[in-house]
Amino acid sequence: MVEIGHYALVLAFALALVQSTLPLYGARTDDNRLMAVAGPVTIAGFLLIALSFAALVGAYLVSDFSVKNVWENSHSLKPLLFKFSGTWGNHEGSMLLWVLILSFFGALVALFGRNLPPSLRANVLSVQGWIGGAFLLFILVTSNPFARLNPAPIEGRDLNPILQDVGLAIHPPLLYLGYVGFSICFSFAVAALIDGRIDAAWARWVRPWTLAAWVFLTGGIAMGSYWAYYELGWGGWWFWDPVENASFMPWLAGTALLHSAIVMEKRAALKIWTILLAILTFSMSLLGTFLVRSGVLTSVHAFASDPDRGVFILAILIFFIGGSLALFALRAPTLSQGGLFHPISREGALVLNNLFLTTATATVLVGTLYPLVIEALTGDKISVGAPFFNMTFGPLMLPLLAAVPFGPLLAWKRGDILAAGQRLMTAFAIALGAVLVTYLFIDGAFVLASLGVGLAFWLMFGSLTDLVLKSGVGKANPRVALKRFTGLPRSVFGTAMAHFGLGMTVLGVVAVTAFETENIVTMKPGETLEVAGYNLRFEGLVPHQGPNYTEEQGRFALLDTSGSQISTVMSAKRFYTARRMPTTEAGIETLGFSQLYVSLGDAAPDGAIIVRVWWKPLITLIWLGTVVMMLGGSMSLLDRRLRVGAPTRKQRAVPSAEVPA
């Protein structure tokens, strides 16, 4: 079975070569038969890679330690879920998942793209073939997951305990669906450049893919953040770590792309810029893959990795980024530009959004790569940490966040900023109220923290304003308003929800940054610690035996002020026997939107133990906000205009599309 997997992978590579050449040639020579090759070949390639992936998963599930990759990363006693998710908890398996998802997206285009112009479809699938081929070659040459061991060891070396968590089952697949999803936008951009033709229909095609990839990437990043938060036991939710930045840069660029594609679709403007953004976004994904997989950067997420692989990915990176940008430089001037607009208009607002987001991406890029550059130039080793990003990224984001509610209220072509301001008066009043309440009634609230809370409320209620105005709630007869409300295009809801979710995330970030409290104390059984109006009583350490680890569980009773028990919080020190590796399992109690976070330190000889207790006010809003953003994105995706395949129906009048989105 394992050899079948390897064989299937080689076959998939051969098919990728076919996919990357014949349809492209067919499109040049206008040969319909050659162009028609693209679809079946893409789908067959996906099936082969899926077979290969299934073979590896199978080897993990039955703990076939004759496969080197399984031996290195699995253990017969590991719970079934982790045997499964452990398939991609290592370099080789992770890359296989990467190409699986890449080919999956290719297959989706092949399946749902029947109504695309044939030459565009052939070119898009060809470019997908190039990317797939390059990464398949990378796997086959440097990272074969199917290498055998002879003789086969009896027991495996187990998966890194940090990864033995349900987070591994969710985070990488989601993240890759986002990362790799942007490859479709890239392929469309390159195909358009090859064709030398681009129109609003192109944007209508690209937008759903961007939106889908963005939704997944948002989820992947948020899941990764929450996973690191509860698993690492440091209580932090974002570290500005190079590997996090690697996923954040495509997100920022992708968010910009999402917005510029709207302008292109609606107004046929910003064509060249949108193409460039599509290329840059996927370039950021490739760069991220390179940074994570090559191990060139020191990172809290760094796992042992092989520098030779880095060179290979660097070559792929240079080929695709360099190649596509060269093609862009060559072809972009021939694309027609169109759609003039006044600076104060919906288009203008979206351009502003793009200016801020791309600049923010650039600052993150500089901070992430600067240590590499300095080391290459001077040999000095430096680290660029959170202070750098807070000082650069923060000031860039604040004006953008403040401007968000205005965008949807401005008209296309020429907007009236004063009228938009007047309509936002209610939201502004609510925000001002939030500032005052925070400043006056919350202990330790500084001016900045209060303003931050105000900004969050401004974002949330400013986003809702658009819905209220468009449906006429409060002005029209309630029944009419309700009818209008339910009749609004889904993309309008999507926008409002995504912006509202952003406000929730901002509120969580501000609350945690400004009002978090931390206690590091030594506690003996029976002792009590007061945290944020609750009492935490240490009940003692209890030994416990897990399937592939032993642990000391620290039990804490959480009492309210009257002394009655709310719940038991359990935090543990685990020891994974196969790898002889200790980990800390944090005890987390969610109270409303806030959380109490308990992490154990070392035990002292006298039975006392060091305990680190955080009060994290409103922290869950950070992730709940991203969930709302994802829902908003999905809602937009369901909009009739954007539904996959919708371009054919564009001649028919769609009544709801007349309301500006």
């Binding site: 809290v300 680290s383 750098f388 002889r580 590796m581 002292a604 060091i610």
Partner: protein, 145 residues
Amino acid sequence: MTRKQKRLTIIGGALLFLGLAVALVLTALQQEIVFFHSPSDLQANPVRAGERIRLGGLVEKGSIERGNDTKVSFAVTDTEHVIKVSYDGILPDLFREDQGVITEGTFVGDGTFVADTVLAKHDETYMPKEVADALKDKGVWQGTE
């Protein structure tokens, strides 16, 4: 304004914005970066007290001393020179003797390094790259690369 003037204003505004962003990045890069040093580097070129640096190396065998509550002290070595580090907080799970660590903090008057951050990695076979390079320079690297 004519259309040309309008366009120039917009481009000018965008350039001004980008200029501000670049200035911000450059200032931040001057102020907020932290240099990495090995104990031998520091022997050769001492840094002044109060300057924030990263110090990396191996935790010297037998050097870990626990003080009151959460205070702990240990020594970081690259096998040639040793620097004493004091830290108040919870050490990472993988912190132990002979393990590569990175600490971040400042020197105080008496030559002790007061760390506010101690990083050990998630993977027991992984060595922070800076530490590995520093050990290779000293010829005491025992890894396989």
